[in-house]
């Protein structure tokens, strides 16, 4: 839908994955992630196959590997935590390159890393093939409470407006000779943030007025009734359904 709101995670395209209704993709990603986290960490081969499945999805969506890998960077803070585990977790230890590492810690790190990476990669693929606006509509179709959907929609609509306002305030500050340098200036920044909050709050009141004036009674009308066909559901759920037997095999095996 539309030319706008091309958020940075989105990659314009017209692949079979792009065309799937957003709510089927959301359900597929959720299902896939659940399967992945349920898989015992010792089944290393299963995680390799999950990654292969995701690579298959990326290929169908024509999302290049570099695009996904760069966006995996969001995971780094969690990776830092995982890297610490072999050093701090107590238990049986082993020596790698002369460094003593804990075996449960290594398994714990692997667990966080493998499952986290697969989850993030699946989400990156979802975001790359689905417009922000459609994601919100998808959540609405999946039954997310209307209030949360409305909050998310307004965030999309007014994010730019408020960022603009923030930028104008910053220009105004600097035009009067203010440069934030260090702690002594935090007071000014805090006051600006407060002013921005009040402005946004007042805008909220005006927006509400405009909504009420046009017949708003508490719920947003759902405009895009795009029910998914059986084939579309099958297409989307192919990912978690392909992952499920691997998980079961690992659990039983």
């Amino acid at each position: 839908m539309g030319a706008g709101h091309a958020h940075r995670l989105y990659r314009r395209g017209d692949s079979p994955v792009h065309r799937l209704p957003p709510h089927t993709k959301l359900a597929a990603v959720l299902g896939f992630v659940l399967v992945v986290v349920t898989t015992p960490r010792e089944a290393v081969w299963a995680f390799a196959l999950y990654a292969a499945l995701l690579a298959g999805v990326a290929a169908r969506a024509r999302v290049p590997a570099g695009f996904v890998l760069r966006r995996l960077a969001i995971e780094i803070p969690f990776v830092a935590f995982a890297v610490l585990m072999p050093f701090v977790v107590p238990g049986e230890s082993t020596t790698v390159l002369g460094v003593s590492l804990s075996v449960p810690g290594l398994w714990g790190a692997w667990n966080v890393l493998a499952k986290g990476t697969l989850g993030v990669a699946a989400s990156v693929l979802l975001a790359a093939t689905t417009e922000l606006r459609d994601l919100v509509l998808g959540l609405q179709r999946l039954g997310l409470p209307s209030l949360l959907v409305q909050i998310a929609s307004f965030m999309i609509r007014y994010g730019d407006v408020i960022t603009d306002e923030m930028r104008r305030m910053s220009v105004a500050r600097r035009s009067r000779g203010f440069e934030a340098r260090g702690v002594r200036h935090w007071g000014v920044l805090a006051k600006s943030a407060g002013a921005l909050f009040i402005r946004s709050y007042e805008r909220g009141e005006r927006v509400h007025l405009a909504m009420v004036s046009r017949g708003y009674t508490g719920t947003m009308p759902l405009l895009d009734e795009r029910p998914a066909t059986r084939a579309q559901w099958a297409g989307a759920l192919a990912l978690p359904l392909a992952a499920l037997p691997l998980c079961l095999f690992a659990l039983l095996g």
Binding site: G2, Y158, D160, V161, V207, M211, S213, G215, Y216, P221
Partner: protein, 248 residues
């Protein structure tokens, strides 16, 4: 026997909860298809009056009737559809992620769906010349375009009366003229709240002055703008060099 007026306000008085009284008995009548300017200095109560027209504020005394229907709790949904208010800041008015969804909001809230809804949206956008922008987010439009979309959002409800709050504010001259063309092309009653006196003269044969909470003058726009004593008394000033009589 004349037809039912689009808007009839009788003895409207209102005081804000903090005790500040803004309106002291406003009387006005707008016939069907009239275009009327509501003039007045800052703080005269113009916005307060506007918010009474669709029942956002409830009169302390007096009545507001829209096309024969009294404004009140009973007919609120119908009243809000009949009175289309275009607020001053289009970023307040356009709250949906895309132009199309925004224009569809009112009719969809009234229960319209599917092809009928699409047709209403397309027609409203065509009336303001914004048909090709349906799928754009409002933030990516120029200010003048956003204002015209804001007009479309209320036109989509087929209102009895269009109320515009400072329609020409912040518009460059070309956008200002484009909006004037749009407003002239509409077959709908218009109440235009404005400080832009040349714009009032251009678009509205009749003007009202709201001053200190009452209607202080009601007459042909040209006569009102030419009455220097009246204008001065109500803090209204023409732009430098503008002579109402000299404009055709």
């Amino acid at each position: 026997m004349t037809s039912t007026p689009s808007l009839d306000v009788r003895g409207l008085a209102y005081a804000y909860p903090d005790g500040h009284q803004a309106l002291f008995g406003v009387d006005l009548t707008l016939g069907r298809g009239e275009r009327v300017a509501l003039l007045g200095p800052n703080g005269a109560g113009k916005t307060t009056l506007v918010l009474h027209l669709n029942g956002i504020l409830t009169a302390g005394a007096g009545t507001v009737t829209v096309a024969g229907l009294p404004v009140g709790r009973k007919h609120m949904a119908e009243i809000r559809r009949k009175v289309g208010i275009v607020f001053q800041d289009p970023d307040d008015q356009l709250f949906m992620p895309t132009v199309r969804e925004d224009v569809a909001f009112g009719p969809a809230a009234a229960g319209l769906r599917g092809a009928a809804l699409d047709a209403v949206v397309a027609r409203a956008l065509d009336r303001v010349g914004m048909g090709e922008y349906a799928d754009r987010p409002p933030h990516h439009l120029s200010f003048g375009q956003r204002r015209r979309v804001a007009v479309a959002t209320v036109l989509a409800g087929e209102p009895e009366i269009l109320v515009l709050d400072e329609p020409s504010s912040n518009l460059d001259p070309a956008s200002r003229r484009e909006l004037a063309d749009v407003l002239r092309s509409l077959d709908v009653t218009v109440l235009m709240v404005t400080h832009d006196l040349p714009y009032a003269l251009e678009l509205c044969p009749r003007s009202l002055i709201l001053s200190e909470g009452v209607i202080a003058a009601d007459g042909p726009t040209r006569e009102i703008l030419s009455d220097e004593e009246l204008m001065t008394r109500h803090r209204l000033e023409l732009p430098y060099g503008f002579v109402p009589g000299s404009v055709a």
